[in-house]
């Protein structure tokens, strides 16, 4: 069965051990580190944007060092605002929301949770991280090319993204770098998802049936199945985009387009084609970000409630249903793109259908929480916060899924609020929950709970203060992607924007508590025991941090379902998955 198990010896030397490591745990930490850098860069960019929106005439000292053209004297130009926006979105979606919950935690814990020594293909694994790293560097290089990063947004809508510098700054070299970076990122993600699927199917320990896998492992597995197909479409889309830009073809540009008084030498293409290809990837990408967080949150909540969820099977089935449906709904991003209105209706239906498995999941979480004695830790607080954000962000999805309402709300701050809550904040809360829960295992040191709880309350209240008013702004007709609203009909909304900006600056600053906690506990935290949370899954049977071959050369045998909490008649209130302890009756409330 596990003939392809990694039999690489213990790594020797710094480079093999920490840089070009084959160890899935080091690779997971590398992904986590990359995501951490990306998230702080992305957050800093959002600060710049929020600052500029509210004080458009105030110079930010030193910003001219980043771009002489884009921020002369520290004053952000409208075009450079769009560049910042593009980089914020691209960094956050690809290098944070895809990397942190999926690649980082998945790499670290998927093999341990199924009782494997390593991934099925450690070399692929190393390649996939370093390919991601190259993609990251290529993307950041857009900051240093003369005309700066592209202004076309993270969705890179054609024809803006497909024609050259006529269309504006950043659309020359910057957009090329963007296309190449994302194509490289696709290859990395494909390698990663191949590896995840093969590992899950082939390297499970004896007794670890599919149904005995923890929900986090299930989530990573379903996510890798989604990623395998989604990135396979974004890759050709990016290749065709780069061809349009460098080989003079015209996949995404229609005939007769005049930009900056120049007739573009393109004809025969369709901007809608880009949107179809992009969103065929783009919508599943939302679930690539959120599904791992769902798995992590379920895993943590069960531990804190000391009882399994109402149904293990239905949770898995709902995640699969979400994954499957995510491929049928891409058109709901294109209601106003000039599709046949009938198609809008067709795409609206499966979009509303996704709410069924999503609601089932939410009800299972809430129903399981009902009557449980939840232990309040930083991890469980963030798990609850995830549910809150997921519901709040998801409800606005009902509105946007209907073409008639979307006509009004499209490209307003309502949409921005919606996807930031449901995809951004919710997934990041999942990552925070995972961090507070698993960091003791990853570093061998406990994190500070009090700081963690302070971090939670500041982030929770802060995130709502930032993103809830977005919905109000959107309903009031405030369009997105404008760099200032001073002279517009939107001027009366400025006080709301001021409030949001102050909230964003404060919430961002609160993340420094997290950073401090992370770094301080890494070096000076109290040593973590093997199983600090009295949890049942296999990652808590190995030392903190685990040795290079996870189980010390012993092949674990699994005897139980993943979540044997509050078992009557057991020696403790829980039974580890690998414990041979047998009890006659298992009673759940």
């Amino acid at each position: 069965m596990s003939e392809a198990a990694a039999h690489h010896g213990p790594p020797q030397g710094f480079i093999r051990k920490y840089v070009f490591s084959l160890d899935h745990k080091i690779i997971g930490l590398q992904y986590y580190g990359l995501a951490l850098v990306a998230v702080f860069v992305g957050m800093f960019l959002s600060w710049l944007m929020r600052f500029h929106l509210v004080w458009p005439n105030a110079a930010i000292p030193g910003l001219q060092l980043l771009s002489k053209v884009g921020a002369p004297g520290g004053l952000i130009t409208p075009e450079y605002y769009l560049s910042l926006l593009t980089m914020h979105g691209t960094l956050m979606v690809f290098f944070v929301l895809t990397n942190a919950p999926f690649a980082a935690f998945g790499n670290y814990f998927l093999p341990i949770q199924i009782g494997a020594e390593d991934m099925a293909f450690p070399r692929f694994n190393m390649m996939s991280f370093w390919t991601t790293f190259v993609a990251f560097v290529v993307l950041l290089a857009a900051f240093v090319v003369p005309d700066g990063p592209p202004i076309s947004g993270w969705t890179a809508y054609a024809p803006l993204s497909a024609i050259g510098k006529d269309a504006g700054p950043g659309l020359d070299m910057g957009q090329n770098l963007w296309g190449i970076s994302i194509a490289i990122f696709c290859i990395a993600s494909l390698l990663g998802s191949l590896n995840f699927i093969a590992t899950t199917l082939d390297l499970r320990a004896k007794g670890m049936t599919l149904m005995r896998m923890p929900l986090s492992t299930w989530a990573w597995f379903v996510t890798s199945c989604i990623a395998l197909l989604a990135f396979a479409v974004l890759l050709p889309a990016c290749l065709l985009l780069v061809l349009d830009r460098v080989a003079g073809t015209s996949f995404f540009v229609p005939a007769g387009l005049v930009v900056s008084d120049h007739l573009q030498p393109h004809s025969g293409g369709s901007p809608l084609l880009w949107q179809h290809l992009f969103w065929f990837f783009g919508h599943p990408e939302v679930y690539i970000a959120i599904l791992p967080a769902m798995g992590i949150v379920s895993h943590i909540l069960i531990n804190s409630m000391r009882k399994p969820l109402l149904s293990h099977k239905v949770v898995i089935g709902s995640m699969m249903a979400i994954g499957f449906l995510s491929y049928m709904v891409w058109g709901h991003h294109m209601f106003l793109s000039g599709m046949n209105p009938f198609s809008a209706l067709v795409f609206s239906f499966p979009t509303l259908m996704i709410t069924i498995p999503a609601t089932v999941l939410t009800l299972i979480w809430l129903g399981s929480l009902y009557g449980s004695r939840l232990q309040i830790t930083a991890a469980s607080l963030f798990a609850l916060g995830f549910i809150s954000m997921f519901v709040s962000g998801g409800v606005s999805g009902f509105f946007l899924a209907q073409p008639s309402i979307d006509i009004y709300l499209h490209a307003t701050y309502f949409v921005v609020g919606h996807f930031h809550l449901v995809m951004g904040v919710a997934a990041i809360f999942g990552v925070f929950a995972g961090t507070y829960f698993w960091m003791p295992k990853m570093t061998g040191r406990m994190m500070n709970e009090t700081l963690g709880k302070i971090h939670f309350w500041l982030s929770f209240v802060g995130a709502y203060c930032i993103f809830m008013p977005f919905h109000y702004l959107g309903l009031a007709g405030n369009v997105r992607r404008y760099s200032s609203f001073v002279d517009d009909f939107m001027a009366p909304l400025m006080p709301v924007h001021k409030f949001i900006t102050i909230a964003a600056l404060c919430t961002g600053a609160a993340q420094l508590i997290f950073l401090y906690n992370l770094i301080h506990s890494r070096f000076w935290g109290p040593p973590a025991p093997v199983n600090p949370w009295n949890a049942t899954s296999l990652e808590w049977t190995v030392p903190s941090p685990p040795p290079w071959n996870n189980f010390g050369g012993v092949h674990p045998v699994v005897y139980h379902d993943p979540y044997q909490y509050s078992v009557e008649g057991a020696k403790e209130d829980f039974i580890m998955q690998n414990s041979p302890e047998q009890v006659k009756t298992t009673v759940r409330s």
């Binding site: 069965m1 998802s193 590896n195 390297l203 007794g207 050709p236 073809t249």
Partner: protein, 207 residues
């Protein structure tokens, strides 16, 4: 999952027979094929989209081109057959036979690529470029060269892989498993061509 049958069943601790009990490397080849099929699908979708949106899509392929495409098809399908012989020989421990048939397959792929490049150069000679041709919609060249080019890259990659596999197999470091895994890839390249021929060649036949 129902928690009731947990600890009482003594067989519950034994790994169930997996329906996916194939070597990981073979599984990964299948997964790669699925993913790559989607990639080709996206290219063909883009081609169909643009072709349908054009009013002056050229249909330049004369009978000679079609015959050439059919000859290439014949060669590629035959090479799919020869890789089957290679797999069977390898499974029967006929090392010389497996080596021979794998190399013959790689030879078929090379012949295919040569015929294809010859066709490309004659098209380029007629004035077809990425975004220019003497007949009509300039996107004809872009779709033709990207789709057939991607396929040709797969063929050339496959030829290199098969040669390496054949040599490593003869040296005794690879087993029948590796030939079988790469035969899957080769069949996939063949099947993709079966979509390319009708969509890119037959639809664009001169009428």
């Amino acid at each position: 999952m129902s928690q009731a049958n947990l600890a009482v069943d003594p067989h519950a601790a034994v790994m169930e027979e997996s329906p996916f009990a194939i070597p990981s490397s073979k599984l990964v080849m299948w997964l790669f094929i699925i993913s790559d099929a989607v990639t080709f699908g996206a290219f063909l979708f883009a081609y169909g989209y643009i072709r349908n949106a054009s009013t002056d899509w050229p249909t330049p392929f004369e009978h000679a081109s079609i015959w050439n495409a059919l000859l290439m098809t014949f060669i590629l399908v035959t090479s799919s057959l020869t890789i089957l012989f290679a797999v069977r020989a390898a499974q029967n421990d006929d090392r010389a036979g497996a080596f021979k048939w794998t190399l013959i397959t790689a030879g078929g792929g090379t012949l295919f690529a040569i015929l294809h490049l010859r066709e490309w150069s004659s098209l380029i000679g007629e004035g077809v470029r990425m975004f220019q041709n003497p007949w009509g919609a300039p996107m004809f060249g872009a779709t033709f060269f990207t789709i057939t080019g991607l396929h040709m890259l797969h063929v050339i990659g496959g030829v290199i892989a098969l040669t390496v596999v054949a040599l490593t197999y003869r040296a005794g470091r690879y087993s029948a498993k590796h030939i079988e895994i790469w035969s899957l890839y080769w069949h996939f390249v063949d099947i993709v061509w079966m979509f390319v021929v009708p969509m890119v060649y037959l639809l664009n036949m001169k009428r």
